[in-house]
Structure formats: C-alpha cells, structure tokens
C-alpha cells in the first residue's frame, strides 16, 4: 500500500503561536486513521494545511506522489482530497438535494461546453437521479426537498457526508464529525463510516475517542502543535505521555 498523503516538517504560525510544529504525518491508501488531542493542539490547523485552506510557513505536503504544498484548495478536491468541517457546512438557503447538485457540479462541468454550463438550469432530471441515490445512501431520501435550515443537526451532518461522498474522494478528512450529535445519530454516522471505509482512506479528528476506537486502525495524538504519539488505539491510549496531556501528571500518592 503506497503513501497517499504525507507531510514533511509542516509548520504554521499565527503571530507568536506555533499552531502546527514540524509535523510529519502520513496516511497510506485504504488506511483509517484518527487524530486526537486536547483543544488547541493543532488538529484542525493540520487539516486546513492538508486541504489547502491555509498555506504552511515551512514544510511540504505530498498527495499521491505530487508536491501539493502551494496548490489551491479546489484543485486538491479535484485530486481526490475531500474534507468536512467542525461546524457542519451545508447551505441553509438551499434544499437538501440542491446541496448535492453543487457537490456534483465538478463532474457535470467536464461533460458540458462552457456556454452551456454557466446558464444550465439546476433542476435537470439527470441531476435529480444522482442526488436521489446519494441521499438514499444516508437515509435522507424522504427529505430531499426540505430546506437545509429546517433539518435537524444530525440530518445536516448526514447531508454533509453525502456531499463529501459524492465528490468521489480518495482521502476523506473528517473534522469532528460526531460533535453535536445524539447517541442515536452518532451510531448512524459510525455505521455509515464502517460501510464506506473500504473504498478510500479516512482521517478523523474526534474528541469522542471511545466511539472511534473500533473504526480506526491507527491513532495519532497531537499536543501543542506536535504529534506526540502514534500507533494502534490500545497502545496509544495506554501511553503515559498521552494520559498526561489529557489528565495531567499522575499524583505520586494516588492509586491508579
């Protein structure tokens, strides 16, 4: 299995704060990796650097063998890198299936000439079929015509995942996909991820570690901009450095 995405000494500063500090991070094809760490440890900044929303101050990012460090974010999506956001990013002024139309534009555009594309009506039948299928996959087919602002947060998250899957990712970067969800909704998302993980590589940032322990093959722990520990979930969660950054130094006279 070849390396799909990798970084070399990736560094990003915001004024005096080093948000990501010489990080070397790799994911191979087909791998499901988790990234955990306390708030402010640099996890989302790492995602922003990988997906091109920030450009690094130092270091490099490689994807499928290419140096993409300076590549714009929309071209990275075209290469197969898809990300979601901590706060669900679906478009509240559009209906569920219109959101999916937007997710499919990239592929439709290749099929049509320039003039045709710009003024193409959004409600064409062919778009409807593709979107219906995508909504079916996440159980939202009955809510296709509902305006996104009226969907529950859990449904919005599923819609965002449906959009991400429509983009035909080779690598899926999920930033805290479970935040704000009820237990029932979390179970739905985890079930979906178990189903699709065989199709591509996935990296998940999460705080709800217990929920993703069965899903991921490898955990990386970040603290203060660095990766302090990496390995299988059981190894990592036993590691004293990891326990320290979450729960502080163990008291000498406390029993474990």
């Amino acid at each position: 299995m070849g390396e799909l995405i990798g970084t070399k000494s990736l560094t990003k500063r915001f004024g005096g704060l080093v948000a990501v500090n010489e990080v070397n991070f790799q994911v191979v094809e087909g791998q499901v990796a988790g990234v955990i760490g306390p708030n402010g440890s640099g996890k989302t900044t790492l995602f922003n650097l990988l997906s091109g929303f920030f450009l690094p101050d130092e270091g490099k990012v490689y994807f499928a063998g290419q140096d993409i460090t300076q590549m714009s974010s929309h071209r990275r999506v075209a290469m197969g890198m898809v990300r979601t956001f901590q706060l669900v990013s679906v478009f509240s002024s559009l209906t569920a299936w219109e959101n999916l139309v937007l997710a499919n534009i990239r592929f439709k555009k290749e099929e049509h000439s320039l003039n045709n594309f710009y003024f193409r009506p959004a409600h064409k039948k062919e778009n409807l079929e593709i979107c219906r299928h995508a909504l079916n996959e996440v159980g939202l087919e009955k809510k296709a015509g509902v305006k996104t602002s009226e969907l529950s947060y859990g449904d919005k998250r599923m819609l965002e995942l449906a959009m991400a899957l429509s983009l035909r990712p080779k690598l899926l970067l999920l930033d805290e996909p479970l935040s704000g969800l009820s237990d029932h909704e979390i179970a739905d998302v985890i079930a979906l991820l178990h189903q699709v993980k065989k199709d591509f590589a996935v990296v998940i940032i999460e705080h709800k570690i217990s929920k993703i322990v069965d899903l991921v093959g490898r955990l990386s722990v970040m603290n203060e901009g660095r990766v302090i520990c990496e390995g299988s979930p059981s190894e990592v969660l036993e590691d004293p450095k990891v326990r320290e950054c979450y729960w502080g130094k163990e008291e000498k006279n406390c029993s474990t």
Binding site: F53, H74, S93, L94, E98, I105, R120, A122
Partner: protein, 277 residues
C-alpha cells in the same frame, strides 16, 4: 403628489442598479468596495463621448459605455479587490478609495473639470389620469423591474446562481466542493460594475454630469445596501425603492435635504436593527 411618487420610483430604480454590485461584492467577497461607483461615472463619460459619433443614437452608445467598463472592472478586481480578501477595513478603504481618487482625476484630465450638458434621449410624455409623465422615467423603472426578475431567475434556476447563493452563505463550504469560488466572484464583480454603469448611463440625462458624480451616489448606494442588508438581493431591491421614495418626498418639501434624509433613515434603521450574530 403623484409626480413625487413617480419620481421616487425612478430614483429608486437608479439606486437599485448601482447598489446591486456593492451588495454582491460585500456579500460574497466581504470586501467593502469604495471604488464601486467609478464604473458609474466612467460609463457616463464614455456614453457622452460616443453619442456624437453615433449620430445621437442613445442605445448603441449606452451599450458601448457599459461594455467599456467591463475591462476596467476586471483590472480593479484582479489587481486590487482580490488582494483585499480578509484584510482589515482600514486597508480596504485606503486601497479602494485611492482607486476612486485616481479615477476621478483621470476623468478630469480627459474630459475636463466642468459639468457636461446632456439631455434626455427622448422627450416623449405619456398622458395618464389627466397628468403627463416623462416616458423616459417610466422606461427606467421598467428596466429595473426586468432586472430584478432576471436576477431572481438567475439565482434560483441556474447552476452559477446556486453557487453564488451558496457562497453568500458559506464561502469555505463551496471551496471544499472543489469549486473555484474566486472565479465566480470575479464574474459577479464585473456584473455589478456593469450594472452600476447602466445606472449611470440611464441617470445621466436627468442629473448633473461632473467628475465627482460617482462619489455622491456611492454614499447613497452604501445607505441602500446597509438598510437592505449586505448580500441580501431582495432587501437591496426593496430598500433602493424605499430610499428613492424618501428622497423624492423629502425633495418636495425640503429640496436640500433629500440626500440627508436618506442617511437619517439609515441611522434610524441601524439603531433599531437586531444584531445578526
């Protein structure tokens, strides 16, 4: 009184043409463009230059004027506006206001400082309810309605329209779908600038043509966009006509106060508007 209301509609129409671009630019790019009405004034001066060459034919001269501002707006967007994404208001103001000042002085260099006379392309009057209304102003209003309907259709039905609506909501969300949002923003910017030129070209015959004309309407356009909501296109339509009516009604009783009243209304709206988080 009926005349006053009628004039209010035609002023509102002009305000609408000019404010659309401003609202779109702020809504999508989050850049407050103090150079927006440069294309408004340049459009007028190009129109006046071409009219004698075209034997006084207004419509072709108007079209040339509007097309002439497109490359100018492209240059402004490409080299100035694009650099201002995410910048503080201070830098944005300095940069775009500088463009306006350069533009005004260029106009003065080419066309001179004195106001230019320009008469309406038609002096037909329509009789209605025993009163006569200038056809020209009716046409202006008609164009505004047609534009509003056209934009509604564009944003609701076409794919590009959907992209812009989504980008007004969440720009990063659209980027993460692999869509080059910046390209669409450029197109919207040029459209907005062309519409400002349209406003200028239509208003020129019934207003004063002088190098600073862009500046006075710029402030009014800002008032319209602030009252209507930045990036809210329907709101811009309503507030343009509402403020146009305010101007017309104020002018009837206190002619110097027409523009002042617009800003008073804007201030009142700002005081009472619930703050959007």
């Amino acid at each position: 009184m009926l005349y006053t209301i009628f004039y209010g509609f035609s002023i509102g129409a002009i305000l609408y043409f000019v404010s659309i671009g401003l609202s779109l630019t702020f809504g999508t790019m989050r850049v407050v463009n103090f150079a927006h009405t440069l294309t408004y004034s340049i459009g007028v001066y190009v129109l006046i230059t071409f009219i004698p060459w075209l034997q006084g034919n207004f419509i072709p001269a108007a079209m040339i004027a509007i097309l002439a501002v497109v490359p100018i707006s492209y240059l402004i967007e490409r080299f100035i506006i694009r650099r201002l994404y995410g910048e503080s208001l201070d830098y944005t103001f300095i940069a775009t206001f500088a463009v306006t000042l350069i533009g005004v002085d260029t106009i003065k260099m080419i066309w001179g400082v004195n106001p230019l006379p320009f008469s309406p392309p038609m002096s037909t009057y329509i009789d209605f309810w025993g009163m006569t209304f200038p056809l020209y102003r009716i046409i202006i209003f008609g164009i505004a309605i047609a534009l509003f309907l056209g934009l509604e259709l564009f944003f609701r039905k076409t794919i590009v329209g959907k992209i812009v609506v989504a980008a007004l909501d969440d720009k990063d969300g659209v980027r993460s779908l692999g869509i080059n949002v910046d390209k669409y923003f450029s197109i919207m910017f040029m459209l907005g600038s062309a519409l400002a030129a349209l406003g200028g070209v239509l208003y020129a015959p019934i207003s004063a043509v002088q190098p600073y004309m862009g500046l006075s309407i710029l402030l009014l356009a800002f008032a319209v966009v602030i009252v209507g909501g930045m990036g809210n296109l329907r709101g811009t339509f309503i507030s343009a006509f509402a403020l146009g009516m305010v101007m017309a009604l104020t002018a009837r009783y206190w002619s110097q106060g027409a523009e002042t009243m617009v800003f008073i209304v804007m201030a009142i709206v700002l005081c009472f508007r619930p703050i959007d988080v």
